[in-house]
Assembly symmetry: none
Homo-oligomer: 197 residues x 4
C-alpha cells in the first residue's frame, strides 16, 4: 500500500500530469483513473483531486498543456521552407499524435470535452491553411489546378493520423503506396502545378 517511489519532485502537480500523459499514451484514455495516476506518481489518490477537482479537469489540463506545446511546434514547423512536408511530418509523429488521437476518441464519450478539442482542431487548421497559402509560390501559369489550402490541410493531417492509427494496430498494407501519393501531391503543390487558394 505504500507509495511507489516518491522521488523528490518539484511539483506533484506536474508529476500527476506527466503520469496521466504516460498512462494515456500507453494504455489509452480509459486507463486514466485517479487511483492509477496516484499510484504511478507515488501519491495518495486524494492529492490528485486536490490539484484537479474532477477527472475531467485533469484530462483538460493535460489537453491544454499538450496542445500548447503542439501549437508552438506546429507554428515553428510551418515557418520553415516547406510547410506542407513539415505538416506531414508533424502529424506523422506517433509520439505526440497518439495522445491527440486518444483525446479525439475521448471526445466521443465526454461531451463536455468535445467542444474544446474541436476548437483546437479548427484553430490548427486555420493556422496551417494560412501558412500553406502564404507559402504557395505566387503561382505560375498554365492550367495549374487550384486546391483549397484548408482542404489540403485536412487531407494531410487526416492521412497522417490515419496511417499512425493503423500502424498502431499493426496494419501497414498499402501505407507505402499511400505515402507516395501524398508525396506526389505535395510535390505538385511545391512545383506550382497545383496552387492553393
Amino acid at each position: 500500500m505504500q507509495p511507489a517511489v516518491r522521488k523528490a519532485r518539484a511539483s506533484s502537480r506536474e508529476a500527476i500530469l506527466a503520469a496521466t500523459e504516460k498512462l494515456m499514451a500507453e494504455e489509452g484514455y480509459a486507463a486514466v483513473s485517479t487511483r492509477r495516476v496516484a499510484k504511478m506518481v507515488g501519491v495518495a489518490p486524494a492529492l490528485v483531486h486536490y490539484h484537479f477537482a474532477t477527472t475531467e479537469d485533469l484530462l483538460m489540463a493535460l489537453f491544454r498543456k499538450l496542445t500548447e506545446a503542439s501549437r508552438a511546434e506546429t507554428i515553428a514547423a510551418l515557418a520553415g521552407p516547406d510547410p506542407l512536408k513539415a505538416l506531414w511530418a508533424l502529424n506523422s509523429d506517433p509520439g505526440a499524435t497518439v495522445i491527440i488521437h486518444e483525446f479525439m476518441a475521448l471526445s466521443n464519450h465526454r461531451k463536455e470535452i468535445r467542444a474544446e478539442i474541436a476548437a483546437y482542431v479548427e484553430e490548427m487548421r486555420v493556422i496551417q491553411a494560412e501558412a500553406l497559402a502564404a507559402s504557395s509560390s505566387a503561382a505560375t501559369g498554365g492550367d495549374a489546378r487550384q486546391f483549397g489550402a484548408m482542404g489540403l490541410s485536412v487531407l494531410v493531417a487526416g492521412m497522417a493520423r490515419s496511417l499512425v492509427m493503423e500502424g498502431g494496430m499493426g496494419v501497414t498494407l498499402g501505407h507505402e503506396e499511400a505515402q507516395k501519393i501524398i508525396t506526389v501531391l505535395i510535390d505538385a503543390v511545391r512545383e506550382g502545378k497545383v496552387t492553393l487558394s
Copy 2:
C-alpha cells in the same frame, strides 16, 4: 428498478446485440457495460452473460455481425461501375462507419481484439485494391501517372474515416475543400490520367 420496456422481442440475444450497437455508436465503446446493455434491453444483467460469456465476447460478436454486413455491402458496391466513388461513399456513411471507428479505438486498449480488427481492415484493403485495379480503364495516354491501387484504397478509406470522425466532433472546417480534392483525384483516375498498378 423495473425493466424499462420489455418489448415483445423475438430473441433477446439479438436485442442485446442491437443495444450494444446503439450504445457504442452513441456513447462510445466505453459505455458498453453489462448493466447498461441489460437495462436498455429490459432484461437482467445476468442474461447478457448467459448469451455472451464475457464482455469481450459480446463486443467481438457485434464486430463480426457488423463486419459481415459491411463486407457484403463493400463487395456489392465495388462491383458497380465506379468503384472509387462507391468506396468513398461507403466509408463516408456515418451509420456503419462510426462503429468501426469505435472498434479501431477499442483495439488500442484490448490487445486481444486488436488482431481480429487489423485482419479485417487488411482484408477489406485487399478486396478494394483488387476491385480498383480491375476497374481502372486499360487507360492509355501520355504521361499518365501510376498510383498503387492499394495506396489509393488507403487514402480514400482513411480520408473518409477522418472526415466522419471530425464531423462527429463538430469539426467541418475545410471538409468541403478536402472532398473536392478527393473528387479531383477520383476523376483523374476515372479519366485515365492516373492509372492504377
Copy 3:
C-alpha cells in the same frame, strides 16, 4: 458455448457424480458448482438440477456413493490378518482420503450435511474397533497395557489423515518419525505387549 465432448454415456447421472468427485478432489468442495459440473460433463446446467434438486443433494449423493464403496473396502481390509496395519494403509491412501477430508471441511460450512458425515465417521469407528478388539491376540501375560480399541482406531485414523493432509500441503517434516512411532505401537499390539479392550 458448446458442450465439451458428449461421450456416449450410459447415464448422465453417473457422469455428473463422477465429475463432481473429480472437481472436489482436484479443486476442493468450493469448486463444485452446478455450472462447472455441467461444463465438465458436457451437459446443460439445468440437467444437474434435474437429477439433483439442490447442490446439497448432489453433494450428499456423492458422499453416499463414496462411503458405500469405502465402507465395503474397510470391512474387507479389517477381515485380513493384520487389521491395524490395514487400517493405517486405508486411511493413508490419498486417493479416497482427500475427498473424505473435503467432506469433513465441508461439514463446517453446511450444517445440514454435518450430521450425516458425523454418523458415518462414528459408524466406521465402531466397525474398526470391533475388528481390532476381535483380532487382538487373546493376549498374554505380564504387565501388558490395555488400550481401548476405539481409542486406537481414533489414533490410527486421525494420524493417517493428518499426515495425508499435511503431505498435500507440502509439509513432510517429521512424518517418517511419526510413522515409526505408529509402527512401534502397532507392533506392540500385535505382539500382545499391549492388548485391546
Copy 4:
C-alpha cells in the same frame, strides 16, 4: 441498508480483521466475503478493499496476526516444565486451533496461500521438537525406546487437531480412550521409559 451498529471503533482495520476471524471460526473460510465482513463491521464493502486490496490479502493478514500470537503462546508453553503436556493442551484448544484448521483447509484451494501456511507448520514443528528434545530427561534406563522428537511433535499436534476437528462435527466416540493413549505416551516419555532423540 443502514450499517448495522456503527460501533465506536478504534480502528476499522482491526474491526475488519476481528470480523473475519469470527466468520472464519463460526462458518468456515468460505463464508469470508467482502460483503459479509463489511456488514458485520457495519461499514461499506469498499472499505474492506481499502484496507486489504484483495480478499487474499485480508486472509493472509489475519493468518499472520493469528500465527504471531500463536507462535508466542507456543514458545511460552514449551518453556514450562512439561512441554509435551503443554503442547497437547495448546493444540487441543478449540479457540485458536479451529481457525488454523480452516487455514489448512483453505490452503488446498488457494495455492498462493499454501506456501505460507506450510512454512508456519514446519516452523512450529521445529520449535516444538527442539523444546521436547531439550526437556527429555537425560534419561537412562534399560531398554528405553528412542522416539524422534519431531515425530512425537507430529503425533501430538496431529492428534490434537484431529480430535478438535471431529469434536467440531459432533463426533466424540473414542476420544476419551484416544486421549488416554496419548497420556500414556506422554507419561512414558516423561518417566524416561521413552527418550527423545
